[in-house]
C-alpha cells in the first residue's frame, strides 16, 4: 500500500449545540489516490472534511499532513466547496486566480496560471464571464480550477457535484478523473452517492451516522484506466455498489 499523505487520529467533534458529529475517527488517505467519505446525511462527513481542511476546530484527535500535525488551513491543501463559493462580482478569471491573489502573486503571473487551468477544466473563452452567467456545472469547474491554481498536493472536495445536473455530472466526473490522474493529486471527496463513490474512488470510507464513525473501508476493485462506459458495466464496479448498499441500508 502506498504511503499515507493525510492521517486523522482519534478525531472527535461536538458542536456547541451539543450534537456529537464525530467520535474517534481514524483514517489514512494514501498519496496520489482518490478517497471518498461516504455516508447518509448527518454522518459528519462534511464536518470531517472541514476538520482536515483546518476550517473547523476539532474537540479531540489529530490531523497529520505529510506526517506533521496541522491546526489550520495550509498551502498543501485546497478546498472545493459544495456551493462553489465564487465571488459574484468577479469574473471567471479573477475567481480562478483568487487563491493566488490572496498569496500576493503579481497580477500578470496569476492570470497566466489561471488561464492555463481555465482551459484545462474546459472553460476556455469564458474568462470574462461572471458566475451568474454560468450553469451550476460550469461554476463548479471554476471552483475546481481555483483549487488547482495554488498547486496543492491535496484537493478536498465537499459534495462538488450535488448541485450539478445528472448529465453534466457524468461528464464532469470523467473529466475530473482525467485531470487528477494527470496532475497526480491526492483527493479526499465527500459524497452521498454510492455510484459516484464506486466510480471515482480508490478507497471508500463508510461513515455511520450520529456520531459519525468509520464503519468500513472499501477498496473498489475497479480499473480506472479503462473507459468510463466499460467501468460502468464492470463486474467489480457493480459488486462494489451492491456491497456498499448492503451496508448502508441499515442506516437509512
Amino acid at each position: 500500500m502506498t504511503e499515507a499523505i493525510v492521517e486523522v487520529k482519534g478525531i472527535g467533534k461536538t458542536y456547541d449545540s451539543g450534537v456529537e458529529a464525530l467520535r474517534d475517527v481514524n483514517l489514512s488517505f494514501p498519496k496520489g489516490q482518490l478517497s471518498t467519505l461516504l455516508g447518509p446525511s448527518g454522518c459528519g462527513k462534511t464536518t470531517l472534511l472541514k476538520i482536515i481542511a483546518g476550517l473547523l476546530p476539532r474537540n479531540a484527535g489529530q490531523v497529520l499532513v505529510k506526517g506533521k500535525p496541522v491546526d489550520g488551513p495550509g498551502p498543501e491543501r485546497a478546498f472545493v466547496f459544495q456551493d462553489f463559493a465564487l465571488l459574484p462580482w468577479a469574473s471567471v478569471l479573477r475567481n480562478v486566480a483568487f487563491g493566488l491573489e490572496l498569496r500576493g502573486e503579481p497580477k500578470e503571473k496569476r492570470e497566466e496560471v489561471a488561464r492555463k487551468y481555465i482551459a484545462e477544466v474546459g472553460l476556455k473563452g469564458f474568462e470574462h464571464r461572471y458566475p451568474a452567467q454560468l450553469s451550476g456545472g460550469m461554476r463548479q469547474r471554476v471552483g475546481l480550477a481555483r483549487a488547482l491554481t495554488v498547486d496543492a498536493d491535496i484537493i478536498l472536495m465537499d459534495e462538488p457535484f450535488s448541485s450539478v445536473d445528472e448529465q453534466t455530472r457524468r461528464k464532469f466526473q470523467e473529466d475530473l478523473l482525467d485531470l487528477l490522474r494527470h496532475h497526480q493529486k491526492t483527493v479526499i471527496f465527500v459524497t452521498h452517492s454510492i455510484e459516484e463513490a464506486a466510480y471515482l474512488s480508490d478507497q471508500i470510507a463508510l461513515l455511520s451516522p450520529r456520531p459519525g464513525r468509520v464503519s468500513k473501508i472499501v477498496r473498489p476493485n475497479v480499473d480506472h484506466s479503462r473507459s468510463p462506459d466499460e467501468i460502468r458495466r464492470d463486474r467489480g464496479y457493480l459488486d462494489t455498489v451492491d456491497e456498499i448498499w448492503g451496508m448502508l441500508r441499515q442506516y437509512v
Binding site: 472541514k50 476550517l55 498551502p75 491573489e101 451568474a132
Partner: protein, 279 residues
C-alpha cells in the same frame, strides 16, 4: 412603459386642474395657477435662493451620515468589542422618547443574554428604535438642546438618515455568505484580505442602497426641521406663502421639493444599478 408614465402624469395634473377649478376650497389652486407660480418663483430667484439655504443642512447631514454612519455600521458588523464606539449611540438615545424604549431594551438585553459588551448587542436595538420613532416629536427637544441654528437642522437630518444608513451597512457586512469567508481562509487569506476583498465588496451594494434611502429620509428631515424649528429656505417659503394666503406659490414650493427629492433619488438609483448590477 414610458408612454404609460406620461399618461399617468397627464391624468394626475388633469385631475388636479379639475379639482382646483371646482370650488372645493379657496386654499386649493388649480394646476395651471400653481405651475405659473412655480415659473415666476424660478424666474425671480426666490426658489433658487431657498434651495441654496435648504441644501446646506441636508448636504452636511448626509455627508456626516455617509462617513460616520457607514463607518459605524461596518464597525458593528465587523467587531464585537470596540466598546467606545457605542457611546455616541447613547447620546442619541438621550433624545429619543425613553418611555417607549425601556420595555424594548429590557426585552433585547434582558432575556437570557446577560450583560454583553458587544457593539452589536448594545447598539442594534437603538437603531431599530430610531427607525421607528416619530421624529417630528423629537424636533422640539433638538431646539431645546441645540438652539434654532444650523446644528439643530443638521441633527434633524442625521437622526432621520442615520438609522437606515447604519443598519444597511451593518446588514451588508453581516450577510456575507459564510462559505466565501471559509474559501478565503482555506487559501490562507488574512483577516485584512477577508475584509477588503470579500466583506466590503459584498456589502457595497447594500451600503449604497442605505445611502439612497438615507437621502430620502434626509429630505423628510430637512423639511420638518425647516417648518418646525425656524422657517428657513423651503420651509420658510411654504410657511410664508401659507400665512399670506398665496396658495399657488405655496403649492408650487411643495410640488418643487417633492420633484427635487424624487428626481435626485431616481438618479441615485440609476447610478446604483450601474455600479452594482443585479444578478
Amino acid at each position: 412603459m414610458r408612454r404609460w408614465q406620461i399618461a399617468s402624469f397627464a391624468l394626475f395634473f388633469g385631475l388636479w386642474e379639475l379639482t382646483g377649478r371646482w370650488p372645493v376650497s379657496p386654499a386649493f389652486p388649480p394646476f395651471s395657477n400653481t405651475f405659473l407660480a412655480l415659473i415666476e418663483m424660478i424666474r425671480d430667484g426666490t426658489l433658487g435662493k431657498a434651495y441654496l439655504i435648504t441644501a446646506q443642512p441636508l448636504a452636511l447631514g448626509i455627508v456626516l451620515c455617509a462617513i460616520a454612519g457607514i463607518a459605524f455600521g461596518i464597525g458593528m458588523g465587523l467587531s464585537r468589542s470596540i466598546e467606545w464606539l457605542s457611546l455616541p449611540v447613547f447620546i442619541i438615545l438621550q433624545a429619543a422618547p425613553m418611555a417607549a424604549i425601556i420595555p424594548l431594551l429590557t426585552y433585547m438585553y434582558g432575556i437570557g443574554m446577560g450583560l454583553s459588551r458587544s457593539i452589536e448587542w448594545l447598539s442594534l436595538p437603538v437603531f431599530i428604535i430610531l427607525q421607528a420613532a416619530p421624529m417630528a416629536a423629537i424636533i422640539p427637544l433638538l431646539t431645546y438642546m441645540y438652539g434654532i441654528g444650523l446644528t439643530s437642522k443638521v441633527l434633524a437630518v442625521i437622526m432621520l438618515a442615520a438609522p437606515v444608513i447604519v443598519m444597511n451597512s451593518y446588514k451588508g457586512i453581516r450577510n456575507t455568505p459564510p462559505s466565501l469567508l471559509q474559501m478565503c481562509r482555506s487559501f490562507q487569506g488574512t483577516r485584512v484580505q477577508e475584509v477588503v476583498k470579500i466583506v466590503l465588496p459584498h456589502a457595497a451594494a447594500l451600503i449604497f442602497t442605505g445611502l439612497r434611502l438615507g437621502l430620502a429620509m434626509g429630505f423628510i428631515g430637512i423639511v420638518i426641521a425647516e417648518l418646525l424649528i425656524t422657517p428657513t429656505g423651503i420651509g420658510d417659503l411654504i410657511s410664508y406663502h401659507s400665512s399670506t394666503a398665496d396658495y399657488p406659490k405655496m403649492f408650487a414650493t411643495i410640488a418643487s421639493i417633492v420633484a427635487v427629492a424624487a428626481v435626485s433619488l431616481h438618479l441615485l438609483q440609476r447610478v446604483e444599478f450601474r455600479l452594482f448590477p443585479r444578478d
